[in-house]
Symmetry: C2
Subunit: 364 residues, 2 copies
């Protein structure tokens, strides 16, 4: 499995997703800034966060992310889409895909405030540039705009009962994300949380929106409830795997794989699955050592990072994470096997792409 | 017009609105805290903000506000509701009314953060008690919950196309509120903004949600587009009047009327319509004096407050505000006159109540 073939999966949907995002913001921005020029800065902040403009609101090319969630939504839609015209299928799904990406973006604006992160994708975060009050509010605006974008599906011929179903799923998902963030913030001062609790957090914070994306794609393209349910389960498992893979890379990826210092999450003292598992399974002396290291105010020395890595070794944490990852990837593949895909080239390709994504995530 | 008769208008809808709010939160809270007990604190923060519990999440009786927006929504619905059963009409409108009140509540959580306000209704604000990160997130959660509540209208037999129309209006309104807040925050450091710009701010920040409430009530009860449009205009005018009345009370209300120190908004250096109007119309020396007073770091002396009040007198600011208020109240009454109300006792009473609200606001 090459990284290249996964990149081509993302590449294929990149341009339509980008155009859908642009059109979601551009029309509203033009209208608003005609009413009041100062509102250009409001939508400008959103576009900065999305990686389209610099801090002076001049066009820029920054890292926009790979559009994982909208891509999944479109692939799910293609996988179960019936014999109808593929362009029509895409047009119906694109506003919803854009809504999901805008929602993900909104959560990052508020996460950066809540976590005090000063940089995202190598640029200053919104609150760092424009202050917390504006950033909280611009996040709320992007959240509202995301939902407004969902309704565009009506213009593409999606029935209002289907849009209502999407909207309800969407709102339940947003509530779950905030529940996850509440738990995460509540546990900030604690390291001794059960592994199960950590999984409850990432299920809400990360997996919920990925599951929602796949389920929405399915709802847009089929009425087969079993396929819809399977794609929801697929998304949940993939989302959990995705987060745990990220946690593992933050600890064990090599410098070549990352393009940056390895063990970065240990240097940053990030409370990810490896540390939580190690703490729960280390012997008394190692537990004590981990607490000491994670509670000190000073930066971690290289030697301390080596000590942490040694404790992770002693607790079999990498094996645990790998096994959890494989378990979720298998669950995702099982869910895919339950989907009633159509015998169309597009459906078959989408199914192959979804499978490819799972296998890629399982490579940590 | 007595305050008492206005209170009875609010009183009549108070209990059903409160019950709708409770049921919106209680079911979801029970489900969530069964999954994870720590989530009790998440919903507990929302209930604290709504005035139902104290900071230890024990039942409490605090000031919950008068439920202006949901009451307007229900009155608008009653005013144009056709011959159907009145209980059915109320049941259909209540989830939507609750969604609107929860949305208003959410905006207050984030406003308090953005404005750095430490107290609301004589209790510490959410961020003051639980920190900015949790308060930002609990606000997001309440926003999501508000929208989730909207969908309950489907269970009461509202069609999905009507709910879609409500949802779209709702999302446009939320975006407008954040636009207004962006403008307000942008002008924080400036006093010399045109009166027209101030009105653009309060149109979005305050009038938009009040207009949305009245329009939603109408959409739920009639298909007569002119009545729907008229109730939207009614809400907009009432919302503008409502805010300007508040601005006037903050400057000119007597101690008996307020139950607190008069001219409080001047002591707090609040940038409300009176100050903005006075600055735009004062002579050079008075302008200079106002700038000096509003820019000093120290608390205002009683003498300085007297000076400000004298400048407001000299610029005819109270007359301007009064005339603006009356103009909006007349526009609200004109809009009411265009509504096709039904010849039912409930409709007639609702229309009388809406008229009463306008006359009450016009009394500043």
């Amino acid at each position: 499995m090459s990284t290249l073939s996964v990149q081509s999966v993302f590449q294929r949907h990149r341009e339509p997703v980008y155009q859908a995002l642009r059109s979601a913001i551009d029309a509203i921005e033009t209208q608003a800034s005609t009413a009041h020029s100062e509102l250009q800065a409001f939508y400008g902040q959103m576009k900065y966060h999305l990686g389209w403009v610099d801090e002076h609101f001049h066009p820029a090319i920054a890292n926009t992310g790979k559009y994982l969630r909208p891509t999944l939504l479109l692939l799910a839609s293609e996988a179960v889409g019936a014999g109808e015209n593929d362009d029509a299928l895409l047009r119906r799904a694109l506003p919803v895909a854009a809504a999901i990406e805008l929602t993900h973006s909104f959560t990052l604006i508020h996460d950066d405030i809540e976590d005090g992160d000063e940089e995202r994708r190598h640029r200053p975060t919104l609150w760092k540039l424009w202050g917390v009050p504006q950033a909280v509010n611009t996040g709320d605006g992007l959240f509202s705009l995301a939902r407004l974008t969902l309704w565009k599906a009506l213009d593409e011929g999606v029935s209002s009962s289907v849009v209502a179903r999407l909207g309800m799923l969407y709102d339940r998902t947003c509530l779950a994300i905030t529940e996850g963030q509440h738990l995460d913030l509540s546990f900030e001062e604690h390291l001794d949380i059960p592994t199960q609790t950590y999984l409850q957090v990432i299920e809400r914070k990360t997996a919920a929106l990925i599951s929602c994306s796949a389920e929405m794609g399915a709802i847009l393209a089929t009425t087969d409830q079993e396929s819809i349910q399977s794609l929801s389960q697929f998304g949940r498992a993939l989302g959990l795997a995705f987060q745990v893979r990220d946690d593992m890379l933050g600890v064990w990826a090599t410098e070549e794989e990352l393009g940056k210092t390895p063990a970065g999450d240990i240097y940053r003292r990030k409370k990810s699955l490896p540390i939580i598992h190690a703490l729960a399974h280390a012997n008394f002396a190692d537990q004590h050592r981990l607490y000491e290291i994670y509670r000190q105010k000073a930066e971690l020395t290289n030697e301390q990072v080596e000590q942490v890595l040694a404790i992770l070794d002693a607790t079999g944490t990498k094996e645990f994470c790998n096994s959890f990852l494989t378990q979720q990837c298998n669950a995702a593949l099982d869910a895919l096997a339950n989907i009633a895909t159509k015998d169309r080239p597009h459906s078959q390709r989408a199914l192959a792409d979804l499978t490819l994504l799972v296998r890629f995530v399982n490579q940590a």
